[in-house]
Amino acid sequence: MKSFRSHRGLVATLDRANVDTDQIIPKQFLKSILRTGFGKHLFHDWRYLPDGSPNPEFSLNASRFKGASVLVARNNFGCGSSREHAVWAIQQDGFQVVIAPWQQRGETRVPAFADIFRSNCGKNALLAVELSEPEVEEIMQMVDRYPGLEATADLDHQRVTLHLAEEISFHFEIDAAVKERLIHGLDEIGLTLKHEAAIRAFEASHNPQWRKSP
């Protein structure tokens, strides 16, 4: 797998909550048997008008976001379908980092990213950064105010920095195992296969009657 340590790039904002993977990459593009070619279809139905021209209303089409590689959105990003094509599309359109806020609802902390999407990000070295709502709000406002604003996502130090005249940094939490794998670009299948002896031992004693085909 590719590794991820640190990335600096232009920040683009998508001011929407509950962005589902059907929006990220609509179903008609899931028919490919390849891992490539999804980038131009990212957010297809929002991004293009029916005649195929770019929709000027869609924020990511703004010229000031051309070349952006850090995407900032709202809570519950990547919900819905398990399609890993969503992560591939985001990466292949040039993004290396996605930032979204967790949210407090009553006594519950609602994570920034849907579970399967977050997991898929980890497998592809797309960094999913979870910040608080006020922090994401601040980033959105700064991006509005300062066209061309760049940010650095530093995984080693678990820090996002906005490169303003006076830099602002935000700390983020990330699962230690995910961080380790990302930093070293570890082959997860290879890691699991290191436990071959344990897997074999497990298989030898596990549910014999269910392992048989009819």
Binding site: D22, K31, N76, V110, H195, I199, E203, N207, W210, R211
Partner: protein, 470 residues
């Protein structure tokens, strides 16, 4: 120490737990379909790996399948994806229920039908609705394509242990309120991310009173609440379902008795602790209809399209965007909303019980003029059973289009799609923008609500609607 149903299964499948907290979880069954697997098989090929346990892996095609003439796939890209699955299954020795098989169907419908879905086991599939199988007291969850490759290669998945969330449905739903209404009510209550990071366990009198079909409907939509998995403890209803019918993968005779004795140990211990609990009175739940562009945007059928600033958990902007897409005015009674299309199908609601209930509503009636109705059985077995019972004649006499099995209009990867602006009452699971076809407007409802809507031409409260059969 007392354990939940989830913890019992998790602990039994932990091959090893690493110092960083990751557990290598053993997977008993891996279901594969054509959309999320080609890149995984390609990954195996590139790294020179094989499928570790082909006999625990089972494939079918469902997403791309046309539901009229299934053997003629006109879309060359769909056709290529289906052929890739056939070739991969041949190359790697995986059993495939293909389009000529009388066992083909939506992957989450055929798993239980075949008896592949057994209590106390772990099941994964590259599809978020894998949560369906949790209805049997199974730990079942959807995975991405990299994870599909991982399971193919190792029969294991490195996982971080999720938290547990008990949802207790007390009382009994008052028919014709059904399982679909219960799960939509839950999603409306906790939101589409309310279950993120948790495994849901559904319990209470209402769940115990449900058939396996109803329990599957509920577990199916756990993912719409953000939960990767939803579970129901196995009981006599489960065991009767498993023992009935031709389910080749269910252990037989003495082996069944032994398995059942084990299955009876699976329910959560009485004093088991959950990270979160919620109680909902099922007796108070009304038929549900979604008004927006995610399953949490839902109201009672007696309700109205909401005002943009009056929806808990959603910003004014979220609601305005949803209403604009849906073409709805705030304050409109839901029963005034007319539909163009009705879709009865999907892994949520295309089992035989769903078709029986809708046939009862359609019997002796006609679909409203101008309304297109697709009835799509979840599998070829469901289709055959429905035809044996004469249900297809009832559907056809009412003016419905009776189709072959597949995912159909649930996700529009095949020819069954909505046109821009078309409004649909759908028994499926997602009302996302464009889900059923670009510009299509989806309202999620139960099968009986869908059937009644087809006849009336607009949403009706099936508790009071004059056309409702006794």
């Amino acid at each position: 120490m007392s354990q939940t149903l989830f913890e019992k299964i998790w602990n039994r499948h932990a091959v090893t737990t690493l110092p960083d907290g990751t557990t290598i979880l053993y997977i008993d069954r891996h279901l594969v379909h054509e959309v999320t697997s080609p890149q995984a098989f390609e990954g195996l090929r590139l790294s020179g790996r094989r499928v570790r346990r082909p006999e625990l892996t089972l494939a079918t095609m469902d997403h791309n399948v046309p539901t009229d003439n299934r053997l003629v796939i006109r879309d060359p890209i769909s056709k290529a994806q289906i052929e890739a699955l056939e070739a991969n299954c041949r190359e790697f020795g995986v059993t495939l229920y293909d389009l000529t098989s009388d066992r083909q169907g939506i992957v989450h419908i055929i798993g239980p039908e075949l008896g592949l879905t057994l209590p106390g086991t772990t099941i994964v599939c590259g599809d978020s609705h894998t949560s369906t199988h949790g209805a049997f007291g199974t730990l079942a969850f959807g995975i991405g394509t990299s994870e599909v490759e991982h399971v193919l290669a190792t029969q294991c998945l490195p996982q971080t242990k999720p938290k547990t969330f008990k949802v207790e449905f007390t009382g009994r739903p008052k028919p014709p309120v059904s399982a679909k209404d219960l799960i939509l009510k839950l999603i409306g209550t906790i939101g589409t991310a309310g279950g993120t990071g948790y495994v849901l366990e559904y319990g209470g009198e209402a769940i115990r009173s449900l058939s396996m079909e109803g329990r599957m409907t509920i577990c199916n939509m756990s993912i719409e609440a953000g939960a990767r998995a939803g579970m129901v403890a196995p009981d006599d209803v489960t065991f009767q379902y498993l023992a009935a019918g031709a389910r080749p993968f269910v252990p037989k005779g003495k082996a069944f008795e032994e398995a059942a004795a084990f299955w009876r140990t699976l329910p959560s211990d009485p004093d088991a602790r959950y990270d979160r609990t919620l109680t909902i009175d099922a007796g108070e739940i009304a038929p549900q209809v979604t008004w927006g562009t995610n399953p949490g945007m839902v109201v009672d059928v007696t309700g109205r399209v909401p005002q943009p600033d009056q929806v808990p958990g959603y910003s004014r902007k979220d609601v305005e965007q949803a209403l604009q897409y849906m073409g709805l005015q705030p304050g409109t009674p839901m029963t005034d909303v007319k539909v163009d299309t009705v879709f009865i199908g999907s892994c949520t609601n295309a089992r035989i019980e769903d078709l029986r209930l809708t046939a009862k509503v359609f019997k002796g009636r006609k679909v409203a003029s101008g309304v297109r109705v697709l009835v799509v059985p979840g599998s070829q077995q469901v289709r055959a059973q429905a035809e044996a019972e004469g249900l297809h004649e009832i559907f056809r006499a009412a003016g419905c289009d009776w189709r072959q099995s597949g995912c159909s209009m649930c996700l529009g990867m095949n020819p069954d799609q909505l046109k821009p602006g078309e409004r649909c009452a759908s028994t499926s699971n997602r009302n996302f923008e464009g889900r059923q076809g670009k510009g299509g407007r989806t309202h999620l409802v139960s099968p009986q609500m869908a059937a009644a809507t087809a006849i009336a031409g607009h949403f009706v409260d099936i508790r009071t609607w004059a056309g409702m059969p006794a």
